[in-house]
Symmetry: D2
Subunit: 360 residues, 4 copies
């Protein structure tokens, strides 16, 4: 019999090996909350970790998309009850750093001298144990725990912690306005949510770019007016044609590669904004002509997934008010015991997978 103090967790052992193993259930500090995970999922970033492309410490529990139930509250945590259903954002800011105090929660560096650290708000499955486990310790619980509205299922809110928050931020950081023309490069889970976000903010012409038929189809359901297959001709020329030569107000990059970044830049109208969500693996090149030699009044904006309970509350409101249904993104389901199979499927992008749901 497994002792009560141990739990199962998906652990990074070494590049190309994430395995299910046992770990002690963590102790709960005064500001923490222990959450019993009921559903979680795998992110593209986890695959980067798996492949050794993004370094984390060996022995770390992976995962940053938790849905669960409060098991135990720290002694100083108020405003919650044990047994409450909650989510926490992939990014879990402290609330007290200088970064947080100027609204830059994702770049939180609570332990640094000046309070800013690149990606410092990303802790789960990066600098502390993550959500692909039976239990998750949530630090700064009063900043990060967001109660799930009655009537919403785990799968309905499963995209909120990362995919939907990141995707929407592509449209938000692009300052999409009513009547805008927006192109979204790549219609994976984040790109699809960027498409949905642009739609929610009032864009009237939304152009999704991908080549996988299933993704192109779901892109239309999420709000794309046009879907361009980049394997069939020149995507820049096609978007210029669709916009009657004008270009787009906002281009959202949701893949993280030179080709998409460059195409996004080339289709911007003068004065337009490239809103970048991709996680890049290489240096980028800005072609002189695509950049109007620096004189085009253009913006390039990058955004890391916004977190914190207020963000989560708003995203769950989007679901509860039926503005958007993200459950079609969940294409496969696994038990936590099968997490290695889930990684196998997801990392090879087999079987039309978009997102998997994992339930301990």
């Amino acid at each position: 019999m497994r002792p009560m103090t141990m739990m199962k967790a998906a652990i990074f052992v070494e590049p190309n090996r994430i395995v299910l193993d046992e770990k002690p259930i963590p102790d709960v500090g005064p500001l923490d909350a222990l959450v019993r995970i009921t559903t979680t999922t795998i992110c593209g970033t986890d695959v980067h970790i798996l492949k050794g492309e993004y370094p984390v410490e060996r022995g770390l529990t992976i995962g940053h998309e938790p849905v669960g139930v409060i098991e135990k509250l720290g002694s100083a945590v108020q405003g919650y009850t044990e047994g409450q259903r909650v989510i926490a954002g992939a990014i879990s800011p402290s609330g007290y750093s200088n970064a947080c105090l100027c609204g830059c929660h994702s770049q939180d560096g609570p332990g640094t001298k000046h309070g800013f650290r690149p990606m410092g708000g990303w802790r789960f499955g990066n600098t502390i144990d993550g959500a692909q486990a039976e239990f998750l310790l949530v630090p700064d619980a009063m900043v990060n725990l967001a109660p799930i509205p009655d009537g919403l299922t785990d799968e309905q809110v499963l995209m909120c912690p990362d995919i939907m928050s990141t995707g929407f931020s592509g449209a938000e950081s692009g300052s999409v306005r009513i009547g805008d023309t927006v192109a979204v490069f790549a219609q994976g889970p984040i790109g699809l949510c960027a498409t949905a976000g642009a739609r929610l903010m009032g864009a009237t012409t939304i152009i999704g770019v991908d080549s996988v038929p299933e993704r192109m189809e779901i892109a239309r359901k999420m709000g794309a007016d046009h879907v361009v297959d980049f394997t069939k001709g020149d995507v820049v020329a096609e978007i210029m044609r669709l916009t009657d030569g004008r270009g787009v107000d906002v281009a959202i990059e949701a893949l993280g590669r030179q080709e998409t970044f460059e195409a996004a830049l080339r289709i911007l109208r003068p004065g337009g904004t490239l809103s970048s969500l991709g996680v890049y693996s290489n240096d980028l090149t800005i072609p002189l002509d695509a950049f109007s030699a620096g004189l085009g009044d253009n913006k390039i904006v990058t955004t890391l997934c916004p977190g914190g309970k207020e963000r989560m509350r708003r995203l769950m409101d989007v679901i509860a008010s039926q503005r958007l249904d993200t459950t079609p993104l969940v294409t496969h389901r696994y038990r936590l015991d099968e997490v290695e199979d889930a990684y196998d499927l997801f990392s090879h992008q087999r079987d039309g997978v978009l997102k998997v749901a994992i339930q301990p």
Copy 2:
């Protein structure tokens, strides 16, 4: 005797040849104004034209920084009087394009289908005859003519049409706030005005970067708290030291080269903004680490010199209210007859030249 209908003008003949020649004084259309130039100057962009690096039509009159007196008003122009002293911005928008109507005046494309064109608002000395002449025809005069407040000399307002408008926009597009730390790369005329702009907007730590002693000295007068000589050690390391490891809130690039662009990116704090003013001549590289792989919540913003009479009015107010004195930037004076000498000095950056004043 030179006929009354002819005027002298500095004309682009071919690469490396701008010469003073005669041209007809232009006819005045209903919306135009003819301005008798009293003072003008040469811009770095004009040197790009001279060298053939930026193509313009042969026979074009160069120059986009006019100070003068209204000689003749078009039949439909109201609100001005002949004999009035005026300036016009380097960028002369139409006021009626879609670009203008959404506040993007510099990217004005009045003749295009959708009203946006990269740099389309820049007409003088680019797509129409410019200001280095005895007379300048100003199109859309009611949009572009700004009366000079009483008591200001030509040289006091000579920087308004371009240098000061562009330099200030570096701080403005960077959204400099009270208490910000700002670095300005290169302390040529535009960088100096960016330094002054950051100061005017409330930055409390301003770091100028250059290597020319005279420019470093004037940088302090324009508002820099620190001046870093990039030839004496690692400028990135020095700025990180000056900011106690935090980096800057806003980095302004005012040179147009890979080294400065890259250094500006490297010293940004997470969430910081690179405000780019430089005119680049080559593709740019964004190093992966300097960009936090796209996850640093950073912005890269480019701005073309804002124009139009309201912008000019505000800039002249800065001068009139003694918030800033740009006359120290005028280091040399020439008559229009000597314009070829002026180009020679300015294009070779001899004798500590910052800006020249040219008077027909």
Copy 3:
């Protein structure tokens, strides 16, 4: 036989008398366009004029919501063709005033010294002849004429010049964000469009307030999640109940009365914005408690209908992309000959009228 140089027009004769009469077809100046009206409508403001509550000159043609065909272009107007179907905004800015050049087009004062004038952009049916006529002279045509996209009928775009532009601006000036809770006071044509605008911008809880059953019903179709009948109990208490005691992020006032203004203020959450669209007839009172004694970080923002061709282009894009259908707002149709009957019906708000379509 009516001479070719005369046209029919609805003319303000004196308070309580707007009559159909004949007027000369206006001459076309170099920057003007003559538009043959195909459809127009009556606005609540016209009723204020009719009643003598808003003063205009006797003999003025009323109306500021034109849909038509270009009959004749001024000699300096480029980019259009005669015979083209167009609309123009209720507000017709000049494009060249200082107000326009700083993005404040509706407060355009082209003839004033400094270029700002309250409501100065509103010319049709206010300071120049309006649209309830066979022909309309559009000044500054290149700023104001917006071609109608193929396939859209007159009635589909009839709300764009004023109702939809004004209503949407209520949501836009309130800076509605994804996940916001918004209340809209009064669900007349403008309030209904404010409701639709809040929906388009991503509000997830939208509360419409009215008491007329037909309006309450159409409010739901336009995007309201809840509709509160203010005649049945305390509207403030009800909205606080619906928002779980939190209040709303944005309250839009679309009636112009003390009761609605005050209720809108009372339901704001701390930090929330009151976006006011109403045309008030009396001084307003800000109750001390509703205003947190000035310490609630609240905003009160007023907006006059945005105009200009770019605005019109964007609004027609909303229609063309099927984001919104405003034709249900057109409840009655009249020929121009029957304009007096139309005023009679509309001014008495009989027969469930929302908007009338008038066709010469």
Copy 4:
């Protein structure tokens, strides 16, 4: 002998009675810090409390402007050391409420269901014991304690917690831009800092309004270009004259009365912003004409003093960089033992008092 566990404090006993008495030195919870006060001051709000106009609990220690030394840190507080010199803002947000997480720190309601509460971030001398004492317990210390830069005296930073933060916010919330014309109504300590803030943000015409000669004189030193004595003629007419009939871009109200609020509204240009800092005691009236019947594209914005350590860091940077010296505002000095005398002088505004420094 006074026991070590007791301290002196200025306590609200009943309306018109604030007395110096003894209280236990508070216990330090895990997130708290105990600060030994070295300098503090009296605010106009404290006088409202004294007079019974703003209700607080009897027995409360008054004061919200602390300068001191960390005496003891809570067990969970990191990043500080005992003995460190610090200030805390008058507003001390929790960092974890929904209000804080959307940047609305002053309206923090950590104990409320939705995390927003009017003025909820104001705790010192309002809902918890304040700073006019030997010791102050600072809650959420990691959010609120800001180390004082080396070389700055207590009096140099004494205005940061409230006066300077509030005054600057008047300019910030008004979005003052380079070239703006700004009027500031009342040149008391907050109005003077609003004047300085407008200057720091680039306003080129700043008009201070007051009638006390000493204040009018210091207004010029803080940045006013013109000072209008409202007792000598019509202040609205005079400001319209000074602005050549145009009105101001931003009017800052820093008194809290109908006359100043109304005058501020009347002098706004169309599209201008009234930034209100005053604490009002009565309902306000918005005159119909001053409000352009709601059609002037105007904004009325209220701001409660921004707090938190990042705000304090920035304000102290303003002092340290010599952009502003607020020590001329300190006109009188008292020991804590003399606090009742200090209240007597300050509440009667005798002897040209601006601010008093009180040292335990």
